[in-house]
């Protein structure tokens, strides 16, 4: 896959640029599911000619842009319960079919947010494990193990500066060994059978990044 965009490598990526970068990496013609929150922004940067078809787990393929004003229809929402529109060729289906599309290996890519991802692709994104937290999992566990490729879009460091790409997740897991790529403000990481490849970095050198993450990158 080629990177179709170029960004200033001397600074961390902005949220929009990060979404733009992921959007450019989605193979044309893919069936794509975007998780709630930041990943949803990727839809705004998809090339309309790419033929990418958006899936939402509440029962629709061919999700169009967010609806505003008179276009808002309470019966037409995405997984984040945001009013959306339908594109020509859209299809509706019930929940069991929608999740069969994931578990059955029909969905090409999903992009999820994360609290933590481990070097070998374990994902933690549904529960902080805090005793007073009310857990909510939604479709995250089904997506994590169902989509052919699972990309994570997240900030690389948490607010206290600790890395979110870690040797072992400390938060409760969503799925085992399911993440293939991690897109972050400081770099893009490919999680391979050989190890973690830093495809590119932003605003930090590869060596400094390896030190902060406590990792030796596998060099292609």
């Amino acid at each position: 896959m080629t990177i179709q965009l170029s960004f200033d490598r001397t600074r961390p990526l902005s949220r929009d640029d990060l979404a733009r970068l992921v959007a450019a990496d989605i193979p044309p013609g893919s069936y794509l599911n975007l998780g709630i929150g930041q990943p949803t922004r990727i839809a705004d940067f998809l090339d309309p000619d790419s033929g990418v078809i958006l899936h939402t787990e509440n029962g629709m393929l061919g999700v169009g842009p967010q609806a505003y004003g008179d276009d808002i229809d309470p019966d037409l929402i995405n997984a984040g319960k945001v009013p959306v529109t339908e594109t020509p060729g859209a299809a509706y289906f019930h929940h069991a079919d929608s999740f069969a599309m994931m578990r059955g290996g029909h969905l090409d890519v999903c992009v999820l947010g994360a609290f933590q991802v481990s070097f070998d692709g374990d994902l933690a994104n549904w529960h902080t494990g805090a005793p007073d937290a009310i857990p909510a999992v939604g479709g995250a566990m089904d997506l994590a193990i169902g989509a052919k490729e699972v990309f994570v879009l997240m900030s690389l460091f948490s607010k206290d500066g600790s890395p979110k790409l870690v040797s072992k997740c400390t938060y409760p897991l969503t799925g085992l060994g399911c993440v293939s790529r991690v897109y972050t403000d400081y770099g893009v990481f490919l999680l391979t059978d050989h190890g973690v490849v830093a495809r590119e970095t932003y605003g930090i050198s590869r060596d400094d990044l390896a030190e902060r993450l406590g990792i030796t990158f596998w060099d292609t």
């Binding site: 939402t56 787990e57 509440n58 029962g59 629709m60 229809d73 309470p74 019966d75 037409l76 929402i77 995405n78 319960k81 339908e86 509706y92 289906f93 019930h94 929940h95 069991a96 929608s98 999740f99 994931m102 578990r103 374990d122 529960h127 007073d132 009310i134 857990p135 909510a136 999992v137 939604g138 479709g139 995250a140 566990m141 089904d142 193990i145 169902g146 409760p172 897991l173 969503t174 799925g175 085992l176």
Partner: protein, 231 residues
């Protein structure tokens, strides 16, 4: 055989205390709100409710919870910006929560409706939601054993029904409706229009009438519900 009943109160009549009630909807899309209010008026209590969420704002499912009629909720995504009714009850220990991944939730009801005794799902393997459940490796992949969820009653919302109970839905308001309709002993459907047999093209029927027991027309549904659906 489906029966057309006169109003929502008649539709939910006779639901015993302690029932498991499957309630359709994803957030408010497809939520059978008038049937839920009828359930509130009926005063039935000690319910186990199955829904994707745990109520939004103070209406519908949230109102049922607030009224103290729900003992347990089985759902995938209780915590939302406007789930404060549930949050308060849960933190006070007044409602039990069984958290189920959304696809397993749908499939457990699909299994119930299809007469499947249990199934192995790859979803949740290695996570806290699979703890205590039987694991099996099949063709090199790990799966967790999941059991069906059968409802005593399902309350769902469709767009139109014919008098035989054949249903069509509208856009993403379909969500859990067709699966829940198969998974309950009594399926109660609210629609905005009821037509005679033949009034729905058989090619576009989503839920065949065999899965439907009671149908009620709810007047005054938004005009949006009258447009836009096939069939």
């Amino acid at each position: 055989m489906a029966t057309v009943v006169g109003d929502a109160d008649e539709a939910v009549a006779g639901i015993p205390d302690g029932s498991t009630v499957l309630i359709g909807g994803f957030g408010t899309a497809g939520q059978p709100i008038e049937l839920i209010y009828a359930l509130i008026r009926s005063g039935v209590k000690d319910l186990t409710v199955v829904n994707n969420n745990a109520g939004n704002g103070r209406a519908g499912l949230a109102a049922l919870l607030a009224n103290g009629q729900v003992r347990k909720i089985i759902c995938s995504f209780p915590r939302q910006a406007d789930s404060y009714v549930f949050d308060e009850l849960y933190r006070a220990g007044k409602v039990e929560l069984e958290l189920v991944p959304q696809g397993n939730l749908a499939e457990r009801m699909r299994a119930a409706g299809a007469g499947i005794g249990a199934f192995f799902s790859p979803t949740g393997v290695g996570t806290p939601l699979a703890e205590g459940k039987e694991l099996r490796t099949i063709d090199g992949r790990d799966y967790v054993l999941e059991y069906p969820i059968t409802g005593d009653v399902a309350l769902i919302k469709a767009l139109r029904a014919d008098t035989l109970g054949n249903l069509v839905y509208r856009k993403t308001a379909r969500n859990f409706g067709p699966v829940m309709a198969t998974a309950a002993k009594i399926t109660i459907v609210q629609v905005s229009k009821i037509v005679e047999p033949g009034g729905i093209d058989p090619e576009v029927v989503i839920t065949p009438g065999i899965f439907v027991d009671r149908i009620v027309k709810i007047a005054g549904v938004s005009p949006l519900a009258e447009t836009g659906a096939a069939g």
